[in-house]
């Protein structure tokens, strides 16, 4: 199974409509500065929910959560650990 960070990068590359190659971005690079629009970020959110079989709660649907690859990874890992605890 792929590592979370790798999967996030793949989804962003596919749906983020970046003006640069996603492989050139660090975990802290601003995706908005790399060309991701608000509309594209919604598609990224959907892609991530599908890839990880999770749902982002509304409190996580804010700009800074989807600003960087690292922020998205942290959000996903938080949701996945909550699921593990509940199970």
């Amino acid at each position: 199974m792929r590592e979370v960070g790798e999967e996030v990068r793949t989804v962003v590359g596919e749906y983020g409509r970046l003006s640069v190659d996603v492989s050139t971005l660090s975990e802290g690079s601003s995706l908005y500065e790399a060309g991701m629009t608000s509309h594209a970020s919604v598609n990224v959110m959907l892609g991530l929910e599908n890839a990880f079989d999770i749902e982002f709660p509304d409190r996580m649907l804010r700009r800074n959560v989807f600003e960087t690859l690292g922020a998205m990874q942290a959000a996903i890992e938080e949701l996945m650990s909550v699921e593990l605890t509940a199970a």
Partner: protein, 390 residues
């Protein structure tokens, strides 16, 4: 320099200017499609253009709630004046809430307040199809120097403004959505008008297209991303102040309608006019509209008074709420005015009676178009694919 009066007095003064100055000139402004110079001069004289500037910078220190009350009060008498005032305060709001860390912006606000400058917004652009969050023009910075050229499809009161707040890409190599706001006093730009403003409503807002050519310094870029400024300030201020101006417009139409019915009732006491029950129905809609705007305004005031609020303002949920306010207000207002016309009948249909509603109805139809409701609905539709309502 005279001391700025208390905020409540400023709201009362806006109402007075609406009734005594904007109102009497409104038909003329509309007929000729001219700038409401009488009302704006009065607003300047009353120092109301600085109403939204903090008192420590010489302004009126008015809250968004008070600014909304002013927009509504003006809207009762002249929707074009109310909209110009609203657009101006929206730019001020952005500068106040996001430019505090810039001495250039702070000094500009002091100067604007002292001189009572009028500031206009340049977010539209040829080739971007009405998407405020996309720019072709870029802030070209070379060392300390800044140049900016932008072909705007519309700049409301652009020719009359003494300053502009302009969206542009952050740098020449920035993608379309990576935008900043650039603050330009009049000495820093030229405007070449590119079309006319001959519309069937909001004629006094004087909003033709212009080609902007500007030069200045890098410090004129407002700190922060336009994405954050838009979500946290420009969009909420826009939707709340526009909805307030439109509410005023609706109330102005209703006031005329009520006067028309009372006059009819007095002529024939005992005979209930046919429009009496329809008027009662209209009032339920007016109350809905009013409460919708007040709730949104109070919620925004609450969110901007707590530290965690800034984050909420950039959330999908809040964007949906703000869009819903604009969507519903822009639909309710022309509906209210149309029903008022039905109640007033021929007296409202004629252009030369005390109950004329032609201008009100024409102005009301601008609401669904200034940012197209279809564009906003498409945005909401997309956001609803991820929003859970939890």
């Amino acid at each position: 320099m005279t001391e700025t009066p208390a905020q409540a007095e400023l709201v009362a003064e806006a109402a007075r200017i609406g009734q005594q100055i904007a109102g009497p000139a409104a038909a003329d402004v509309d007929r000729d499609g001219r700038f409401p110079v009488e009302a704006v001069s009065a607003l300047k004289e009353a120092r109301l253009l600085g109403a939204g500037v903090p008192t420590e910078l010489g302004g009126g220190g008015c809250s968004l709630t008070e600014l909304a009350a002013m927009c509504e009060a003006l809207g009762r008498h002249c929707a074009a004046t109310a909209m110009i005032f609203a657009m101006h305060q929206i730019q001020i709001g952005c500068l106040v809430r996001h430019g505090g860390g810039s001495e250039y912006v702070r000094q500009f606000l002091r100067d604007l307040t002292a001189q009572q400058w009028l500031i206009a917004s340049v977010t539209s652009e040829v080739g971007v199809g009405g998407d405020m969050r996309s720019s072709r023009a870029a802030a070209e910075v070379d060392g300390d120097a800044l140049t900016l050229c932008k072909d705007a499809t519309t700049i409301s009161y652009g020719a009359q403004a003494e300053a502009l707040l302009v969206t542009a890409r952050r740098a020449a190599d920035s993608p379309p959505g990576d935008q900043v706001l650039v603050l330009l006093p009049k000495s820093h730009y030229t405007l070449e008008q590119t079309g006319n403003w001959d519309t069937f409503g909001m004629r006094g807002t004087c909003s033709p297209g212009f080609k902007l050519r500007a030069s200045g310094r890098a410090e004129q870029i407002v700190p922060g991303t336009f994405a954050d400024i838009a979500a946290q300030t420009m969009v909420p201020y826009s939707h709340i102040l526009w909805a307030s101006a439109w509410t005023g417009l609706a109330k102005g139409a209703v006031a005329k309608t009520r006067a028309c019915l009372r006059a009819e009732a007095r002529r024939r006491p005992g005979v209930v006019p046919a429009g009496a029950v329809p008027l009662a129905e209209v009032l339920t809609t007016v109350q809905l509209l009013e409460h919708s705007v007040r709730t949104a305004t109070a919620e925004y005031e609450r969110l901007t008074s707590v530290p965690e609020g800034a984050d909420v303002l950039t959330s999908v949920g809040y964007a949906l709420q703000m869009n819903n306010l604009k969507l519903s207000a822009s639909q309710l207002v022309p509906d209210i005015v149309t029903r008022c016309l039905g109640i007033c009948g021929i007296a409202g249909y004629k252009n030369d009676t005390p109950y004329s509603l032609g201008r009100h109805l024409r102005d009301a139809h601008s609401a669904a178009l200034m940012v197209s409701n279809y564009r906003i609905l498409a945005t909401n539709a997309s956001l609803l694919l991820v929003h859970k309502d939890t």
